[in-house]
């Protein structure tokens, strides 16, 4: 707040009319951007200027603008969610850039996440994976008293660490194989670590992995780029846990 300064940028933004059209980079100049402005607010300003010129604004996904809904994406200068650690794009601020920088903005690039328009992509593949087994089969109404299940603090905390995934897809976007292993492993681990999740553990991991493969996500080659770019710092040790669960499900 105190060290505000005005900045200017050259933006190279991916524009694509719709899923079928061919896209291209378009260059925009933007000036008088406050260093305290968020990245998406900078795009708001650009869009306002485009509308004033009667041009079509850049389409991008966003909603909560506080780093939790997982709707914003954007590949910024070669990094999902841009040049800062443990954030979503909506939490990125212009103070992380230098005055006069050229900023390249692309959508997530992964075959299972087709572009809808400009920077907006279709991530329903993630929903489909969850629908295969990312749940505990319990109907409303039949549950026992909440404190009748005791869960030690450590597994409860580890489960929460995994459950913090926001489903943004940065892990897929950054992976050279477009692997969804970190996303799937986070959900598998969230349930695998809790006693409530054990009865369906084998079925869950089998089905979710099969769906992930079917939808065209690649395999994991242990480069751990996903962990580096995850806004919620989900650990790759979850992938190890998922592999163990998967193996046990196969042999058991």
């Amino acid at each position: 707040m105190t060290n505000h300064k005005n900045m200017k940028f050259t933006l190279k933004i991916w524009r694509q009319k719709d899923a079928k059209s061919k896209g291209k980079f378009v260059t925009y100049k933007i000036t008088d951007i406050s260093s305290e402005c968020s990245f998406l607010e900078m795009l708001d300003i650009l869009n306002e200027q485009l509308i004033n010129k009667n041009e079509e604004p850049v389409v991008f996904d966003h909603d909560c603008r506080e780093g939790i809904c997982g709707m914003c994406s954007l590949y910024i200068n070669g990094r999902p969610h841009g040049p800062d650690d443990a954030i979503t794009t909506c939490q990125l601020h212009m103070r992380k850039f230098r005055d006069g920088d050229t900023i390249v903005i692309e959508p997530w690039r992964a075959r299972p996440f087709p572009v809808i328009r400009d920077l907006m992509i279709d991530r329903s593949a993630f929903d489909k994976i969850i629908q295969e087994g990312g749940f505990i089969s319990v109907n409303t109404g039949g549950a026992a008293d909440a404190n009748s299940i005791l869960i030690s603090k450590l597994p409860a905390d580890l489960s929460m660490d995994a459950a913090a995934c926001i489903g943004c897809g940065a892990c897929v976007a950054t992976c050279k194989n477009a692997s969804a292993m970190l996303f799937v492993a986070a959900k598998v681990s969230h349930f695998a670590l809790l006693p409530q999740g054990r009865p369906e553990a084998k079925e869950r991991v089998r089905r979710m992995v099969a769906k992930m493969d079917e939808l065209g996500f690649g395999n994991c080659t242990n480069t751990f780029a996903c962990e580096v770019e995850c806004p919620k710092l989900i650990s790759v040790s979850n992938i190890a846990r998922m592999n163990r669960e998967f193996l046990c499900a196969k042999v058991g």
Binding site: I51, C64, D127, G134, F135, T140, S152, A164
Partner: protein
Amino acid sequence: MAELIAKIPKGPLTQKWSEYKSHQNLVNPANKRKLDIIVVGTGLAGASAAASLGELGFNVKNFCYQDSPRRAHSIAAQGGINAAKNYQNDGDSIYRLFYDTIKGGDYRSREANVYRLAEVSGAIIDHCVAQGVPFARDYGGLLDNRSFGGALVSRTFYARGQTGQQLLLGAYSSLSRQIKLGSVTLYNRHEMLDLVVIDGKARGIIARDLITGKLERHFGHAVVIATGGYGNLFYLSTNAMGSNFSACWQIFKRGAMLANPCFTQIHPTCIPVHGAYQSKLTLMSESLRNDGRIWVPKNKEDAEKLRKGLIKAKDIKEPDRDYYLERRYPAYGNLVPRDVASRAAKERCDAGYGVGSTGLAVYLDLEESIGRLGKHVIEERYGNLCQMYEKIVNEDPYKNPMMIYPAVHYTMGGTWVDYELMTTIPGCYCLGEANFSDHGANRLGASALMQGLADGYFILPYTIQNYLASEIKTPRMATDRPEFAETEKSVTDRIEKLMKIGGTRSVDHFHKELGKIMWEYVGMGRNEAGLTKAIGLICALREEFWKDVRITGTPAEVNIELEKANRVADFLELGELMAMDALNRKESCGGHFREEYQTPEGECMRNDQDYMYVGVWEYAGPEKPYKLNKEPLHYEEIEVKQRIYK
């Protein structure tokens, strides 16, 4: 004047809900399959309702405007969810939760609904744990609790600072399971644009596919609206950018009514506004008030120096700090309800003690708690909040106190519903923040999650059957009926009208202007002159909008500007009604503070004699004034008193 029948069951308060359930009509399993239910919204209320109705065997269609149901704004709720479990043995009970909620709402909510909410609160926690929601636990493996404003007990369950996220992902997982089983069909990136009413009953919706721009007709034996509140009307709020009230405004125009629209909640602990380009305000959870102390300097000179950046908060010695909440409200201290805390912050800033470059901020200081408990404990409790703060403000809240200021957060007002959560349109229901029933004039912290899930998991799945039992002979209707065609035509006409304007100003321009008017005159402090002025300004702005808004592109494609224009057009009407409601209510209660009606100490002065009613507004037709109906509030169990937190 329409008749408002709340359908509150007879009998003693504690027995009403069981009495209702014992005698209501039910639908048998074979018939459930033949009944279609449309649920609009996939937040806590919408997703939990859609999942539970699917589990029961109904055929459910669930709509959301985001790319996935998991994005709904319930996800952003941080601090926790209340439940009367009394796991801490600190004297909690269903009655106490009920009482705190009524009192917190400043005696402007419906007693029977609130009692039921408290009654089912425990079952929510049981169900969420069974779903695998990773609530915080202590070393013995039992569930942990924290305290929230307006309560003397610890009854708030939490999952770090991401409780809303975990509860929503729980509901989303149940919903996903039903989608796979085929009982729920999901329509993501779809937005409801009108309600179809046939022979006086809700029978479907017109929705726009936000990718292709195509309008679609969907039939349902009943329609459930769970689309959240209208805080985004203020432009700057803690709501998500897409949060809107259009579904509720559409049903309002089709015969549903709107209750207490002036009751908005201004949350005391948000990151202050810092620039004209700003798009939203970020909440810092109320849970921070468990361990954070709120203060401003005692001396104006210090405040002045802080504003100019000549000194830092750390330079102010302990005796020179004014912990004004602890000073004014010794019994509840930093944990007074939100409306009280917000007004107190405004009072200090208006009096010249505010800090930050704008003078519109107060400190929330974790220093003492870090000293007492250690940084690791504070980190474990609020780590993600502190990280959020650091990313936005570029300051370390473990080292310097956070700067906070009130911001629009929640709306207690909403669609009028009866005890069954049905609106005044038969077959049309309204759940969660979108309805008005449970929070009166002020909502207590950690009660929004409770209400959303109570409505969706444990109330609607019962009450909707009482209606659907008489619909089992109604066959699925074809969507080529004239009622569908006419409703679709009115949507097409409106879109065409918007596109044709071809003006010079963006939708955001109008939204921001509206927000400024609302914050200035219909915000934390309201008075007759200001409200009257606001109505004039809003009407003029609305006129300008319909003459000068510019929407680029076409309706037959992804068109964000068109989506926004539809929503802002509705906000421009709702804003006027909010100001009218605030003008009508000549008293101060909860979040509604009329400056003319306050005690010498600056507290709310209620007028129970004249205003102990729900203000229920009715749409009378285009260009006609809205009609005010009244639902009187009767308190059988509770003695109505002045709210005192001292």
